[in-house]
């Protein structure tokens, strides 16, 4: 095996050309419907009328299809191989979800359709709220946020509104060192100051440091549990006591919810606000960077501030518009006909809106289908197998490369784990990045690298529950092979990848002289 193994593949030989370089003047894919009304000149005053048409592509439909189909082949994807990208929960995306989301009754439903004529959608959203409330262990849900970080923003703004309502003005939000970047970024956007909390020697929150930093200026602690280290914080009850002790809220970053369904609930841990990443635990496909959705569940004291509108169920006995039973309401029995569903805009203490309309409904359809498919038992199975798979893969890796790539903290993990490549770097002279790049030549997606920041040369591995033992074994073998290979010749990994459509890219150069669009 040489550093140039694989040589030049057909894909590598092709220069990347954009759709703007394809086609020719005058070609088209679109055929306009006929102008069936009298043509009137001058409907737009000259100064406001576009002088030059936008230079969009000019290509036939076959050219466009071929261009994008070939582009797609320059992507690695979850349907083709293992994707253990830590913190991202790259689980199988059932195609049933795409089918049901595409039903015209869902896909072509206008967001402003009268609620009386969108009862199916509202029922679905209501039932999803109920299901998420049960999973979170918190009674009230807003589906509105568009992604995890949007949910975080909602959560911190809710905290602000909650304190403001009590006449309090707080200035700080705590996040542990292991927090995802969206946590501190959110805090800033929401107008608070970030205060970092240290980790203890087991990777959990340093309770003493927390206690020291928690005062009446603290509005909130943002935490994910299990943490981005894959560790369930054993002091969670104490942490909640400390935070609640000063009247702050406890925010749960739900990115790691996949680990605990059926075993624990954020609400039971004392969290006030939780976001869900429907594109992680609930298998909305990632789409190469979205769409997702980041619903939030909250406790009673936060409920008044939830975004508007809320989806509510109205019991048939109640005169319309008078009693709205929002959120979790226990019984489901029907008196005097079926219940109806509505959008409740009348929320005087609401923080307002976080986006247009009612949220990413198409994502809700998929999530709803997933929850109905799996049911209670299936969701618990998800977490059990996710944790089992992670621990098995960890065991296999420790057995094979435990000295070079040791576990960063502890002995076991929840649904993911963090290895440190520090010994490998020191002993073999290859970095975690090199290992990752070399994995590409093995046809696997690398784990998350260099996150969480608290671990040197971090490798965050999340296999998910939908992978088989065979795949986990193959991954462990590939890692071992790369480490062995590096022991012989570290240059191979350092030069990797070799077989991908392009090889290592000049990221620094890209940032220095940004070219962010095609020059026409």
């Amino acid at each position: 095996m040489t550093a140039l193994e694989g040589g030049t593949t057909p894909q590598q030989r092709e220069r990347a050309t954009t759709i703007f370089e394809k086609g020719a003047a005058g070609r088209r894919a679109f055929v306009a419907p006929e102008l069936d009304v009298p043509a009137v000149e001058g409907l737009i005053p000259e100064g406001l009328r576009r002088a030059q048409p936008p230079r969009l592509p000019e290509a036939t439909e076959p050219e466009i299809v071929r261009h994008y189909v070939n582009l797609s082949k320059r992507n690695f994807d979850l349907d083709s191989g293992f994707y253990p990208l830590g913190s991202c929960t790259m689980k199988h995306n059932p195609r049933l979800h795409e089918r049901v989301a595409a039903l015209p009754g869902h896909a072509r439903l206008h967001p402003l359709q009268d609620p009386r004529r969108s009862q199916g959608a509202l029922e679905l959203m209501y039932e999803l709220q109920e299901a998420l409330a049960e999973i979170a262990g918190l009674p009230h849900v807003s589906l509105q946020p568009s992604a995890g970080s949007h949910g975080e923003l909602a959560g911190v703004l809710l905290t602000r509104a909650y304190h403001a309502d009590r006449g309090e003005h707080r200035t700080k939000v705590l996040t542990p060192d292991s927090a995802h970047g969206t946590n501190p970024a959110t805090v800033t956007m929401a107008g608070y100051e970030v205060v970092k909390v240290a980790l203890d020697e087991n990777g959990g929150v340093d309770v003493d440091d927390l206690r020291a930093k928690t005062d009446e200026d603290v509005a909130c602690l943002m935490l994910t549990n299990p943490s981005t280290l894959g560790i369930f914080d054993p002091n969670i009850e104490e942490i909640a006591r400390i935070v609640h002790g000063v009247g702050a809220t406890l925010y749960y970053d739900g990115a790691n919810l996949n680990a605990i369904m059926g075993y624990s609930r954020p609400g039971d841990m004392g969290f006030d606000i939780v976001h869900f990443n429907l594109h992680k635990t609930f298998t909305q496909p990632h789409g190469g960077g979205g769409p997702g959705a980041g619903p939030i569940a909250v406790s009673d004291r936060i409920e008044p501030f939830l975004p508007r509108p809320q989806v509510v169920r109205r019991e048939p006995s109640a005169p319309n518009g008078t009693t709205a039973s929002a959120g979790h309401d226990g019984g489901r029995r029907v008196v005097g006909g079926p219940p109806t569903f509505d959008l409740d805009e009348d929320r005087p203490k609401s923080i307002g809106k976080l986006r247009g309309f009612q949220g990413n409904y198409g994502v809700f359809v998929r999530t709803y289908a997933y929850i109905r498919s799996l049911g209670a038992e299936g969701l618990q199975d998800v977490s059990e197998v996710a944790v089992l798979n992670a621990n098995y893969l960890l065991a296999r890796l420790r057995e094979k490369v435990g000295d070079r790539l040791p576990l960063a903290f502890g002995e076991r993990c929840m649904h993911e784990f963090v290895l440190t490549g520090a010994p490998m770097k020191k002993e073999l002279g290859i970095r975690t990045l090199d290992l990752a790049k070399r994995l590409l030549d093995h046809g696997m997606h690398p784990p998350t690298v260099y996150f969480p920041l608290v671990v040197d040369e971090a490798l965050l591995v999340e296999p998910t529950e939908t992978e088989t033992r065979e795949t986990l074994d193959a991954f462990a073998d590939a890692i071992a092979q790369i480490v062995d290979e590096a022991a012989e010749d570290p240059e191979i990994a350092r030069g990797a990848p070799y077989t991908t459509p392009v090889r290592r890219l000049d990221e620094a150069g890209a940032a220095k002289r940004p070219r962010v669009r095609e020059q026409l």
């Binding site: 703004l157 970024a185 190469g288 986006r355």
Partner: protein
Amino acid sequence: MSRYTGVTPEDLEIMLAAIGVGSVEELFDSIPAGVRLRRPIDLPPGQPEQAVYAELRRLAERNVSAEDEITFLGAGMYDHYVPAIVDMLMSRSEFLTPYTPYQPEISQGGLQVMFEYQTAISELTGLPVSNASVYEGPSAVGAAAYLAKLANKRPRVLVSRGVHPDSRATLETLAAGYGTTVQEIGLDDGITDLDALRDALADDVSAVIVQQPNFLGAVEDVAEVAAAAHEHGAQAICATDPLTLGVLEAPGNQGVDVCVGEGQSLGNRLDFGGPSFGFFAATTEHLRRMPGRIAGETTDVDGRRGFVLTLQTREQHIRREKATSNICTSQALNALGGVVYLSWLGRRGIVELAELMLQRTHYARETLAALDGVHKLHDRPVVREFALRLDAPVEKVLDRCAARGVNAGYPLARAYPEHPDGLLVAITEQRSRADIDRLGDVLGEAVAAERRAAGVTA
């Protein structure tokens, strides 16, 4: 085991042995007793695929979609035809299932799509730089105001009442976080009151936000707004409907600094409001302040052309609390739909389509305004949507129309109490002249019936 998980009894035995535990439950021992869930999750049992399909169909059929009626409902999202190639490409595993392209060597497809998308948005808006998408329209407006704040640190934004009500509401919510005061500028005969705007402008104004066409369908004089803003060193932000840019001047050519908007009309489904995408374009000055992913061109070690996520030092995963935005997962797949749609439409097609909407909108406006009891709410030029006043209760008229299979539009009173009698009617290439004539019949009869009911004699 479920249909998605595959741990056989044999697997389980091998795996537990390798881990060194006796049961799966043991792996959850680190969860303290006090926070354990001691009962099964309270949800119904799982269902076979066919049953889930049947249930989701049942729900779908309880909705009246754009497939079930002739709809003139718009107000921010529009029933455009989505070409089949968009669905086909968006459902390819290679685009549908990957994560954000953190490993560029195996993500050139997605990265190049972003680069092409950015190019198309830049062309449309007439601004040199675009990001790779934000969540959707209204939050894009909020993000644009945040960028203005980052740029000039000023405490106040002015927003036209012609901006979508959801955008204004979202702006208020977000501004409450980042500490900007939002002040509304009223409308005068359908468009932003320029005098009021000039009065409100001062050197503490961070940005002026206008929408083109505005919520009432009227074409704004964006250049005037931008010039007024610039006189006070404020940023000019324009929210726009991208399809109208086939006939309306590009905001970038009118002096706008930031142009954002809802991308749904570009090949995305209605989906009861989402997922779609927001676009975000700006002047070069703002490049390093933009929120979200940006794809950039570069070369690999062998000199091959390639693409990467660039300028990541703006972003939360690198800069954390100093990031220019907290956005992470965005709307890449929807933006793919957008650029495929724009490629399909093409340079000539976007003009043809916008021109078709323009003409049909004019025809519809004149046809409807000629009905008894129906009047134009304003006389401004319109492109794809227009506002009417009815001499009859709007919600009741809408119900009458719905009963006859026509969705006549959006009752303005929901967001504009000053127009209790207002109706907003949207046109797309899917609404033919025959559809418009039908609306004319149905609306005319509904108004007449309501006026009769109210004792008015025509």
